[in-house]
């Protein structure tokens, strides 16, 4: 069926009317990149707690979300290279040992809007990221229960969402080593509550430290497989050049690689870019995370990078989860200031001055920068 055939003119008018209705149920006012399906960015002013509240957590949907899943009717299929294929109910999943993992989820394209030249895709700023406490059974326990073969190299995960017209289905593959990691879970809860529909009810894969697209929502099938899925969302989607390209040049398909662990990154959440502040005590704040590593250090400059000061970091220091940071600053003079932040992780990676341009605008992690005007009180 073609996209054009999917809707009558009347339905198209209704859809357009829906575009003008911009409240997203369960969400505070968010930066609205797309409301059908929902692509919502968290304004930086909401990033004032270690756990991002669900009502402020960013949303990235590739295709329309499925109709709300009835928890009583829900079944998770576990198949492929397994000795005992399973159909698990939500109650079965709740009976398995439950792990709780604090993990930051960041959209692969977070910060895309900062790249020059511009690249297609949602023009995310700083806020396609959030940190939540996820709870549910370990993937390793589910696969053991199904008797997954030790020769299966990948775990394939499918969500209940399906593409419009011939838009590809959202299916992702994960190397078995990462799938079996004790922190990789099928989350049933987000910050202690059942995962809301918009974030993947009733079950969402959580792949700590990897790009957000790995964490498939509305999971209905886990398959042990010999090879990675070859669909659009594995190739060419969500791939990154093995060798850096001159900005503005096309990708070389044979040299694109699947994105795995995320880079080291800090962002400034206060003061906001181009804001005006009264001369006096000012707190510079932000968050920093480093994929599978932990954040070791965040430095801040308030003079464009001449001098750097160590920021205070929040506890705990964990892999997978961000740390909040702040620096108390008291400028002696009014005027315009350029504030920078730079993170270093536990493996020694340092946030670069220049992010690596790539045709899909993934993995923006340049030193963050805001400009503020300090005025006499």
């Amino acid at each position: 069926m073609t996209a054009a055939a999917l809707m009558t003119a009347g339905a198209a008018r209704l859809a357009r009317a829906a575009d003008d209705s911009t409240a997203i149920p369960g969400k505070r006012p968010m930066i609205l990149h797309n409301d059908r399906p929902e692509d919502l960015e968290t304004p930086v002013r909401y990033f004032d707690s270690w756990l991002t509240p669900v009502d402020a957590f960013f949303v990235r949907q590739h295709i329309p979300r499925p109709a709300t899943i009835d928890p009583a009717a829900y079944r998770l299929t576990v198949n492929g290279m397994v000795s005992k294929p399973l159909q698990l109910t939500l109650a079965d999943l709740q009976k398995l040992p439950q792990a709780t993992v604090p993990a930051t989820i960041e959209c692969t394209g977070n910060g895309r809007g900062f790249y020059t030249p511009k690249v297609p895709g949602i023009q995310w700023g700083r806020g396609a990221i959030g940190n939540a406490e996820w709870s549910g059974p370990r993937i390793a326990d589910i696969l053991r229960a199904a008797g997954a073969s030790s020769s299966a190299a990948f775990l394939e995960t499918d969500g209940a969402d399906v593409g419009v017209a011939s838009t590809p289905d959202f299916v992702r593959s994960l190397p078995m080593k990462k799938a079996m990691h004790p922190a990789t879970i099928l989350a049933l809860k987000m910050n202690g509550q059942p995962i809301p529909d918009i974030h993947g009810f009733p079950a969402r894969l959580i792949v700590p430290g990897w790009d957000g697209t790995s964490s498939v929502k509305w999971v209905i099938r886990l398959s042990a497989a010999a090879e990675a899925n070859k669909g659009f969302f594995m190739n060419p989607g969500y791939r990154y050049p093995k060798y850096a390209l001159p900005p503005g040049t096309p990708a070389r398909p044979a040299e694109l690689e699947v994105i795995e662990g995320m880079p080291v990154k800090s962002s400034i959440t206060a003061p906001e870019d181009q804001s005006k502040l009264a001369l006096g005590a000012i707190t510079v704040r932000g968050f920093a995370w480093a994929g599978e590593q932990a954040i070791e250090r965040v430095e801040v400059s308030t003079d464009g990078g001449s001098r750097w000061h160590d920021a205070q970091l929040s506890s705990p220091k964990l892999p997978f989860a961000w740390r909040l940071w702040h620096l108390d600053w008291r400028p002696s003079d009014p005027g315009y200031y350029t504030i920078l932040s730079r993170a270093t992780d536990s493996s020694g990676r340092v946030q670069p001055i220049v992010a690596v341009w790539n045709p899909s605008g993934y993995l923006w992690n340049a030193i963050d920068r805001v400009g503020v005007t300090v005025e006499k009180a």
């Binding site: 069926m1 073609t2 996209a3 054009a4 055939a5 999917l6 809707m7 198209a12 859809a15 357009r16 829906a18 575009d19 911009t22 409240a23 997203i24 149920p25 369960g26 969400k27 505070r28 006012p29 968010m30 930066i31 609205l32 990149h33 797309n34 409301d35 059908r36 399906p37 692509d39 919502l40 960015e41 304004p43 009502d55 809007g113 030249p117 511009k118 690249v119 297609p120 895709g121 949602i122 023009q123 700023g125 593409g163 419009v164 017209a165 011939s166 838009t167 590809p168």
Partner: protein, 101 residues
């Protein structure tokens, strides 16, 4: 009316290829409403600023995913005229409060 037509012709002469034909652009906007809205909101398009080559590639991608675009040239002209990479990015749009009190 004649004056308007002459002014428009003068604009075409002065702006050469930079100045898109308003009638074509208007047709392109209709084509956008017909072929894009069934699958996603227009915000996804209107928030981007891309070169003609990049918009062209996006149309190829959408056609590959099942969209039937009948007035393709007009749609491309419309996208470049309104959302070209020479245009300033739009200010961020905010959703309304959806948290039930």
């Amino acid at each position: 009316m004649m004056t308007g037509r002459l002014l428009w012709l003068a604009g075409v002469a002065a702006g050469a290829a930079l100045c898109a034909d308003p009638a074509v652009v208007a047709r392109g906007q209709k084509e956008e409403a017909r072929s894009c809205i069934p699958c996603h909101s227009l915000r996804l398009i209107h928030s981007q600023r891309l070169s003609k080559a990049a918009w062209n590639k996006e149309l190829d991608k959408m056609a590959g995913w099942g969209t039937v675009i009948t007035d393709r040239d007009a749609l491309l002209e419309y996208l470049v005229a309104n959302f070209g990479d020479d245009k300033a990015p739009p200010p961020p749009a905010m959703s309304q409060d959806g948290v039930k009190k």
